[in-house]
Symmetry: C2
Subunit: 437 residues, 2 copies
């Protein structure tokens, strides 16, 4: 009875959808459901975000303000800071962060807080889907007890619980919520049927899998694949350096193979919210099962060692100029974790600046996207204009983030020494000596 009622509301798009966590995952999802004609209520604890949405403004680079304004105007997209306002919702999607603690253990506090918030307003016929990347078993072990068992609700009959991993790639111009296939696993067959019906309003293709654990694993496999391959190519860079071979040239030539190969690129270390973190959710869970996830551990070890490797390259490069790191003036170019974005979370640039300062360098940075950044130790640094004077007075420029708008020719014409960790100077030459990874 419940099942049919819920399916009908989802099919005729009279269902109301609540989204907990309106960040780079929640907001694009909210917008896509609203575009499909469903009434969406976004919930976030940060009042500034909620106020912006309720003024029809966006704060996410991939979602235009004009779209938010139009959907808000049409009454399809609203926001709140209070869990209580989610009470009338038919479906609630949880899109909260899952960072790591300092100890590299999963920080599940956001998932717990969101689940407990939803538990306050849980009711019969509610559909709940978790999108946060997490260890396999979370949905059954955390959501089911707090949302169903504690309330005497039977999963698959009274209430429907699913896991569907977000696959957002910030800044990707080709793939968004609509055209990225949506993997969905349910606690019961009714749960997956209902969650798949829900998502089919916002996504062109839904991929049902047989369990929430399988759906949780899908995302962990995807991001572990990336972390391991980046680790591999970082180790390749180290080996190519020992062999006197240009690793970028090797990767580019290998990428000409039309089958069985996918190019990854080395760099100064991993950054961002997903690749360095997600695989550790899987290795943490496996440790509890007495298994050591060896590829994940190795990738993590190599990737987190890359800033130290960069420091060694800087020391070697300065050494060729009869200089030490101590006492050198060093400009770090780019502090965002990847090109053309303003996000510094887990950015290797922060480690590199810290390590250089620890060794006695005087460090400043330039980043066209990041006006200021809080460094290890608490000091706030500000982006310096990339002038001929700044470059001329630097003993070394360490290029960490290859933002496309940084003027390559100007850099090479004015700097003395550039340690280029991204092959960003490829095809350019000037007076500067350039050293690669």
């Amino acid at each position: 009875m419940s099942r049919e009622t819920v399916l009908q509301k989802l099919r005729d798009r009279t269902a109301q959808v609540g989204i907990v966590g309106m960040g780079y995952v929640g907001l694009p999802l909210a917008v896509e459901f609203a575009e499909a004609g469903l009434h969406v209520l976004g919930m976030d604890l940060i009042p500034e975000k909620v106020e912006m949405l309720n003024r029809g403004e966006s704060y996410i680079i991939d979602v235009p303000t004009a779209q938010v304004a139009r959907l808000h105007q049409a009454g399809l997209l609203r926001a709140t800071t209070r869990y209580e306002d989610l009470a009338p919702m038919d479906a609630i999607l949880i899109c909260v962060p899952t960072p790591l603690r300092k100890t590299k253990d999963p920080d599940m506090s956001f998932i717990y807080a969101a689940t407990e918030g939803v538990a306050k307003i849980v009711h019969k016929d509610l559909v709940i889907s978790l999108e946060s990347t997490t260890y396999p078993g979370t949905t059954e072990e955390v959501l089911v007890p707090l949302l169903a068992t504690d309330h005497g609700l039977k999963v698959g009959e009274d209430i429907f619980i699913a896991f569907s991993p977000e696959r957002v790639d910030p800044g990707n111009p080709t793939y968004g919520v609509r055209n990225t296939p949506k993997v969905v696993g349910g606690v019961t067959p009714a749960c997956v049927e209902i969650a798949a019906t829900l998502y089919s309003a916002a996504c062109d293709r839904v991929i049902p899998v047989s369990s929430t654990q399988a759906a949780e694993m899908v995302k962990l496999l995807e991001n572990t694949f990336r972390a391991v391959n980046i680790g591999l190519v970082n180790e390749m860079a180290i080996m190519c350096n020992k062999l006197g071979v240009n690793v970028w040239e090797v990767i580019e030539a290998a990428a000409s193979k039309p089958f069985g190969f996918m190019p990854f690129y080395p760099g100064p270390g991993l950054g961002g919210h997903c690749i360095p973190i997600d695989p550790l959710y899987l290795s943490w869970k496996l440790k509890a099962l007495n298994y050591n996830a060896r590829f994940i551990e190795l990738a993590s070890e190599i990737n987190t060692s890359m800033p130290y490797y960069v420091i060694n390259r800087v020391a070697d490069a300065l050494n060729d100029d009869r200089k030490s790191i101590r006492g050198s003036q060093i400009v770090v170019l780019g502090v965002a974790y990847k090109r053309d974005i303003d996000d510094v979370r887990e950015s290797p640039a922060l480690d590199i600046i810290h390590l250089l300062e620890e060794k006695g360098a005087t460090v400043c940075y330039h980043d066209p996207f990041v006006a200021s950044v809080r460094l290890e130790g608490g000091r706030t640094a500000h982006s310096q204009p990339l002038t001929a004077d700044l470059l001329g007075s630097a003993d070394c420029v360490v290029w960490v983030t290859d933002h496309s708008k940084i003027d390559r020719q100007f850099l090479l014409d004015n700097a003395r020494l550039v340690v280029d960790t991204r092959n960003a100077t490829k095809g350019y030459s000037g007076k500067a000596r350039v050293v690669g990874l």
Copy 2:
């Protein structure tokens, strides 16, 4: 002067091409050069191969006999067992095997023998290209001294030496010599120019790189990428088993991601002539430079442990039937190293049979492509017909190679227990209990 003379002969296709090693790499290459109108002389130490070619017959699955016959008829393709006959050649391509010794060190004897054979007839203006997968540095360290320095010939002026990795994928219906881009590195700029001109007769696209070392590394990167990703997905299979999740379902769902992911599949262990071996050429070279190629070592360790893992799965599956491996009748299904081919080199099936026999099982095998196989210890086993009787009397069937012509339904209707290491029974069901990796 030499350079222009050689280039002219290559451009007007009057150059004669010798190929040392007429195996699955040399013969397709010979055929493609002959198709381009160049006169090709294949050289191989195995008289049977040479006799077949000189009768216009093929012995390689990807090269039709009709094509060999036509090219032989036209006088464009001949073969010999003697290095001396290569004396009139303008270019010589070396396509010999590079296996490993029992100690897992590179076995360079074929490259040395071929180089020494060519050294006997080396002459001014000769172009030599090595195609065998090998450690970075081989071309400069082995070919240059034996072919140039010893004869007082100057590389890049008197003689032209290059490395161009073969990228043959046996059985690939889409990509062959002609449409797979050809990476070429030369000892000098004249060497790469001349080798690129040579290969452009047989390959639509040539990718020049800056050195023979870079060209050597390209192939090692390609195959290390595969070995590491197969290792990763094998470890994923082990982890999914511990988590109670179906790894095949997870991979299939992850493969729906339209960017940033490439699916690999787990199995009973690596086989064949390339993926298990090539990466160890790189790790061996790095050891000499005091670096431990950690991803390669880990992949090799996990991939070579897979037969042991399969044995554990068999033991667990038999245990559920209150049986031990000792005294059980076991049928191994498939002994080739991959589907629909007859090649048993490095096949994990050989390890699996050996381990099962060591533990006291009575083992037979069925393989529609492999009539007989020499087992560890020297005994030769013969493929048994896959009858209802054979399946009915077996305590367990271990499916190692998923040849497409094996009748899935018949197997599941007649066997008692199947350990399916390839997900080959997907979509079928019968009376047999099926256990996955």
